[in-house]
Structure formats: structure tokens, C-alpha cells
Symmetry: C2
Subunit: 230 residues, 2 copies
């Protein structure tokens, strides 16, 4: 992942000093993403078939809250009020969660890995266009923290017991992608500074297309890793 | 609180080495209490009227999860499997939470302070009867962590805006006490080793009565602190 970001940077995207509004938006969107991820993971943890599984997912929720706090601190140091800066992102993120609410423990596990992975890839891509401290913070809060191993273990055990579950999980993962794209477009259409950062950073339409291709490839890699790719 | 525990100890309760079954039960009951408190606080945080309030209650949930992990480690070091040891406590604690589910943000705040305070007092009292490392760990995980100040601030602001809410909150707090007593009795009736630790530790019926009086007084003090005592 780090190599990938380095190569993205070397590709020579313009590194003009980004607009503060755009950076605040970027951090605020991510901050609310972390706060709502805490909320969703804590909720989904209840579906765990074992107390160990429940404690594990609760632990993931806790990690997200720690990230939220780091981002809120950074927003404050930039002169923003986190609770106000996050407001534009509440509705699209809540809509995303509502439309991708897991109905089983396994869907929750897939969402924790595939959904958060997708968001992380997008954020890492956009962070490359921001200033250095912002980029460093975003890279830091987007660590995977063993989520992949946990997801593979849970999904592999479930598929071994009942291979027919694979199709349904793959479908659920597709819904995650679709809704993530849809809500991201919605946010970019509403936030001028953020859209500008994104478009100017990517350089041109072909830059945006390449960025989307990279994110898609990484999503496919995760699906393969989970054994959900046919 | 610390003074109070010291004086309880000086009162000369018998300090025989407690049965490991009882200590495992004590730690497991508390561990599930912390895991379910994480779950409930994360859930109740959603009712927060502000994103700051929500992040604050999410932070309380995180503290509980950290305590859970300390207790689970201790259970493991005693040769117990935490997820198995907690099983007898799942049903009574879930019943407690179901019967005391807050229907408003303020009820959630009162539960976080009054309900957890009640449970903490009870655990501190019983911990005095256990071995020294167990007692030290229980004292450590039962820190208040600024919960009182937060509760007072939220409740005071709400009562200033609408004093008529006080009666309803006081009633809710009474339900917390009633259900806590009821579920504790239920647990003690089912767990022989724990009951033995409790009864032998308290010494006699008068010892138990004094313990209940102390817990009640501390509950009343919290209600006064919140401005909910008439």
C-alpha cells in the first residue's frame, strides 16, 4: 500500500498547497466516517455467534474511535470545530450505513473489512493531494489492524461449513461498492472545495479514471482474499 | 470511596483465601458487565443531541472495553476461558439492560452514571472479600473516569430548561436500583461459590445489611449530586 502511494506521488500530481476548506472537509468526512464506524461496528458486534467474536469486533470499534479523536484534534488545531465540520457528512454516511446494514454476522465481518478497506483506499488516494501533515495523519489512522486476517478466518470457516453462503456475501459486497460510490459522488457534488482538491489532484479525467481503477483492483484483491471472487 | 473500602477492611472481615470458583465468577460477572456496558453505551450514544455528546459517550464505552480486556486477561491467567466463564452472567445482565433500556438521551446519561455507580459499589464491596490481586484489579477497573461531571452537566442543563423532567429521571433511576437488586439476587441464587464468598465475607446477616446500607447511601449521594433527590 505504501509503495503504491509513493508511486502515485512520483507520477507527478501537482502538489500545490491545498485549500484549507478542502483539508477541513477531507478530515471532517473521515472523522465522521470513523465515528459512525465505531457506532456500526459496536452494533454489528451484537450479531457475533461467540463472546470472543463480539469482543473482537468491539475492539475494532474502539480503534475507530481512537482515530476519530486524532482527526478531531487535527481539525481543532486547524481552527475548525469538529462537531460543526462533520455536519455535511452525517447524512451521506448514515445513508450509506442504512443501505448497507448487515443482516448477519458474516455480512458485518465483510463490511468491516471490505467496506472500510474501500473507504481507506479512497482516502489514501485523496490524501496524496493534501499537505504533508494531513497526509501523514490520514495514513496513520487508516491502518488495517489485523482486520483482514479476522475476516478471512470468519468467512473461510463459514464457507467451509456451508459454501452456498458465498454468493450472498459476494452480492452484499457488491452493494457496499455501489453505495460507497453513490454516496461519494453525492458528497463531492455538494462540497466544492473537496471536489476541486480531488479533480486538481488527479490532474484530469484520465487521472480520475486511473484512481478509480486502482481502488477497484484493490477491492477485487480483497474479495479474492476472502474467497468471494469467482 | 477508597477510605470507605479501607474502613470496611479494618472492620475485620475474615480474609480467608477465597475459593477460585468464586473469584472466577466474580471476575467473569464483572467482565461480562463491562462487555455489555460497552455495548449499551455505544447504543445509547446514538441518542446524543450533539456529535460531541455522542463522541463523549462512545469514549465511555471504549473505557469499559479496556476494562473487559484486563479482566479477561486475569481470568485467563487463573486458568479460566473468559468466553465460557462469562456465560452464566449473560442472561441476567442482558435482562437488566432490557428492563432498564433508556428511552431518552438523559436516561442514558443517568444510567451510565447511576447504574454503573451502583454496580461499581457492589463490586468494590465484594472485592474486599477476595484475594489481593483480584481486589486491586477490580478497584482499578472501576474508576469513575469523569462520568459524574459529565452526567451532572447534562442533567443540570436539561433540568434548567425543563424542571419537569426531574420526576421522570428519578423514577428511571429507581427502576435501575430495583432491577439491579433483582438480577443480583438471581445471580447469587444460582452461583453457590459466589454466594458463599459474599455471605462469608460479610460475616453475618447484619454484615450484609450494613453492606446494603452503604451501597444505598452512595446511590442517594449520586442522586443528590444529579439534583434528582427530593
Amino acid at each position: 500500500m505504501q509503495d503504491h502511494i509513493e508511486s502515485t506521488r512520483r507520477r507527478g500530481y501537482s502538489r500545490r498547497v491545498p485549500d484549507t476548506d478542502a483539508v477541513v472537509d477531507l478530515l471532517a468526512g473521515l472523522a465522521y466516517g470513523e465515528l459512525s464506524a465505531f457506532d456500526r461496528l459496536a452494533d454489528d458486534a451484537r450479531m457475533a455467534p461467540t463472546l470472543d467474536g463480539r469482543a473482537h469486533m468491539a475492539g475494532m470499534a474502539r480503534v475507530e474511535l481512537g482515530h476519530y479523536e486524532r482527526l478531531a484534534e487535527r481539525l481543532t488545531s486547524l481552527g475548525a470545530v469538529p462537531s460543526e465540520a462533520m455536519i455535511p457528512f452525517v447524512e451521506p454516511l448514515e445513508r450509506f450505513h442504512k443501505l448497507t446494514e448487515p443482516s448477519t454476522w458474516l455480512e458485518g465481518v465483510v463490511k468491516a473489512y471490505v467496506g472500510d478497506g474501500l473507504a481507506a483506499d479512497f482516502y489514501r488516494e485523496v490524501a496524496v493531494f493534501a499537505d504533508e501533515p494531513t497526509r501523514a495523519l490520514i495514513d496513520e489512522v487508516l491502518v488495517d489492524a489485523g482486520r483482514a486476517e479476522f475476516a478471512v478466518q470468519e468467512v473461510a470457516a463459514a464457507l467451509a461449513a456451508d459454501p452456498s453462503q458465498g454468493g450472498r456475501l459476494a452480492l452484499f459486497a457488491r452493494r457496499l461498492v455501489g453505495e460507497a460510490i453513490s454516496q461519494t459522488q453525492h458528497v463531492l457534488a455538494e462540497r466544492d472545495a473537496l471536489l476541486k482538491l480531488f479533480v486538481e489532484g488527479a490532474g484530469d479525467v484520465s487521472g480520475i479514471a486511473k484512481l478509480i481503477t486502482r481502488i477497484t483492483e484493490q477491492h477485487e484483491a480483497r474479495m479474492t482474499y476472502l474467497g468471494l471472487k469467482n
